[in-house]
Symmetry: C2
Subunit: 429 residues, 2 copies
């Protein structure tokens, strides 16, 4: 890890910079895949699956039989672990349900706000080196609690044209309504336009590689919303002498394991802990199966020391980490003053892995500094808020004059007239 | 208005279609303005203001003196109307504040969710034929309640380089922190990158013409979020014989007044009311100052009759109107079953104008069918939701095994190890 001691504020932007994404290079490919799937539907999906996933599929939807088979193939131990995680995620997301908010703003003017589920949602689950079934829990559970009627899932097939058993088990357990063996740009395009097999959806969720990321952004041109823009995963740990160097090292390494572009930062007000953490990183790293990835990510990672809590907190808010672990004596100071972070982990027994899998919080979080303006996925991500109002005769008499005057000042006479007509009728009653 | 009786479901898509936006044509211009403002800052802002707004500005920020002058120039009557509206909008948006949500998902595993304000927001207020000060109320009031620390506003100057008095008054009243005489693409680019004068912001709000709309979409490439994609304003009225034809006509006309591309639809289960509404439209239209605009919008508008409530409701949900007025005997049926709408107005004394100005609800709403997946602007639009967790020794012992098993199944050994280390230490205590 590269070390920086009390860097000047003008150096912070550099220290906080993330790898820049090469949007423009990928867009022409994305645009042409979208065009083909818009016009050719399933045929184009199958063609691109042959091309990119090297597998020939007759049927892109996973059958009931395949699901049943997958479900029986998952070990009882893994099933129990997933069920425990599901129970915690459900508890935390169900608690996010809110009631209708109703206010009589003036006598006779009743305004209320209600949430209604987004009817059709699409979940993208990446494939690749490992089956990321935990992301299914994080997306399908709140979709189900919100009451989305169609929960479509796409994930790339392996070379023999299948999805991993545990992916099928988890999707089935969480109430996904349709599962497709489709990955990459073609999955995002399929769920955006709809094909003969894949339903079109109103909002797309889930992580992915750079092709999926650009495809999700592209989908917003076609009346589809997305959960958030994505980037490489990040962790910032702030620690002092109350931290356990071996735990800090393990947490930094677990983030570094995601990929060579993972962003790992240690901030400290106690530089004396740095050597012990560095030593622990070396020791633990040697034993990791994904050592070659982790080594590269750690080589690009940073240890930054600050002389005061204020400076440390200001830097952290400036960075806006996706994951933020606090191992400080004065932990409340660091909790109360955090303005920009995706998910916050407090204390020595709260590893990021807990939130990644099983504590109950969501792991689909804003990266790349987007914690400054985006929430992580939560129950509200699957709702729209709608407002309602009902005004009585008395009510329109109470606010009518104000509306008339404002409409007139904005030069909108028909807006004014809609009120004048009603007020005149009431005056003549 | 064009009339359609019980159209077949296969015809609905056509009846629901909105004018398609010509995104691609405008993008090259938007990209080049962004590039210039990124590199040249204020100088480029001033150059584009000369080019597009035909005015030469030395100073783009509105001064304290200009604000004070504007405030004194607004009539007492208009000030009272704006203050009444402000009070109602504040009541309704303040009621949307929520408490921290806290759940102990398992013994020793405490998870909570808190909202923190987006620190820097940018409000775009269109200029043009009339001063749209009502939009300032709708955006600055919730921003202030949420606690955003920097509320930047941009609006295009008139030919003499000023903003209307009532715009300055309203911005000042609502606590906007900095006001700029900058419009169009250059305003959006300025707030995205920041210039010598204009602060960069994290999220952009507000309506605008097609240039502003494309510029807001473009800004999302540069770590800026936007409230929602925009399109021409829309109204759908559903009415039966309990409706007052003159009020229905006035409401349809008030929507049509926004522009020739305004979308106006009347749905009815009682075709016998149609002639009376048509006649009222003709009568009222003749007296409107914006007659030429309204006529064109009304010529493109539609009256659609359905034989049953079920079909009417299904069509309305399929359309997803921005504004939705219900004047039906059985109004609850139409309230309870609406799945996709921006804002809903119930009963004969609830004109859309009420929500546009003064009842308390927000008027920044999803158009173009986006009610299927986007909320209108509300208090939460100015917050991020962040999650926190704190796990005790007992807690990690309760969920540790599940995490280890899931991390192993996903092939993430470092994630597993972060838990194993802690569990081993606790076992040895």
């Amino acid at each position: 890890m590269k070390q920086f001691n009390n860097p000047l504020p003008k150096e912070w932007a550099d220290l906080s910079s993330r790898p820049t994404s090469s949007y423009e290079d990928i867009e022409p490919l994305v645009a042409s895949v979208f065009e083909d799937i818009k016009t050719e539907g399933d045929n184009a999906i199958k063609m691109y699956t042959r091309k990119f996933d090297k597998v020939n599929l007759n049927q892109i939807q996973v059958s009931e039989k395949e699901i049943a088979f997958g479900v029986t193939n998952v070990s009882t131990e893994l099933k129990s672990a997933i069920e425990l995680a599901k129970s915690n995620i459900e508890k935390f997301h169900r608690a996010q349900k809110t009631d209708r908010i109703s206010v009589e703003t003036q006598d006779g003017v009743l305004c209320w706000q209600e949430k209604r589920p987004i009817q059709k949602v699409g979940l993208y689950i990446p494939g690749g080196s490992a089956p990321l079934f935990s992301t299914i829990l994080m997306l399908a559970i709140p979709a189900k609690i919100a009451g989305c009627s169609e929960i479509v899932m796409c994930s790339p097939p392996d070379k023999s044209g299948n999805l991993p058993d545990v992916v099928l088990y988890t999707a089935h357990l969480c109430g996904v309504t349709k599962i497709f063996k489709v990955g990459g740009i073609q999955a995002i395009a399929g769920m955006s336009f709809g094909t003969e097999s894949i339903p079109s959806v109103h909002k797309l969720f889930g992580p992915g590689n750079q092709y999926v990321t650009v495809a999700k952004q592209w989908a917003t041109r076609y009346n589809v919303a997305i959960d958030m823009p994505a980037g490489p995963s990040e962790l910032l740990v702030v620690a002092d002498e109350s931290a356990n160097p071996s735990y800090v090292a393990a947490d930094l390494l677990s983030q570094a394991e995601h990929g060579i572009d993972s962003q790992v930062i240690l901030v400290t007000t106690t530089p004396s802990i740095i050597p012990a953490v560095q030593m622990e990183i070396e020791d633990q790293l040697a034993q990791l199966p994904r050592k070659s990835i982790v080594e590269k990510a750690i080589a690009n990672s940073k240890v930054i020391s600050f002389p005061t809590d204020d400076l440390a907190i200001e830097f952290i808010n400036n960075y806006g980490p996706e994951h933020y672990i606090i191992c400080m004596k004065n932990e409340d100071l660091y909790i109360d003053n955090i303005e920009n972070a995706g998910s916050v982990f407090v204390g020595n027994y709260t590893p990021e892995s807990a939130g990644d899998y099983a504590s109950g919080t969501n792991h689909t979080l804003p990266t790349n500094g987007y914690a400054k303006q985006y929430s992580g996925v939560n129950l509200d991500s699957f709702f729209k808020q709608m407002t309602f109002q009902k005004i009585t005769a008395k009510g329109i008499q109470n606010i009518g004059n104000a509306i008339q005057r404002m409409a007139e000042a904005e030069g909108l006479e028909a807006h004014r007239n809609a009120v004048t007509l009603r007020l005149n009728d009431l005056a003549n009653e």
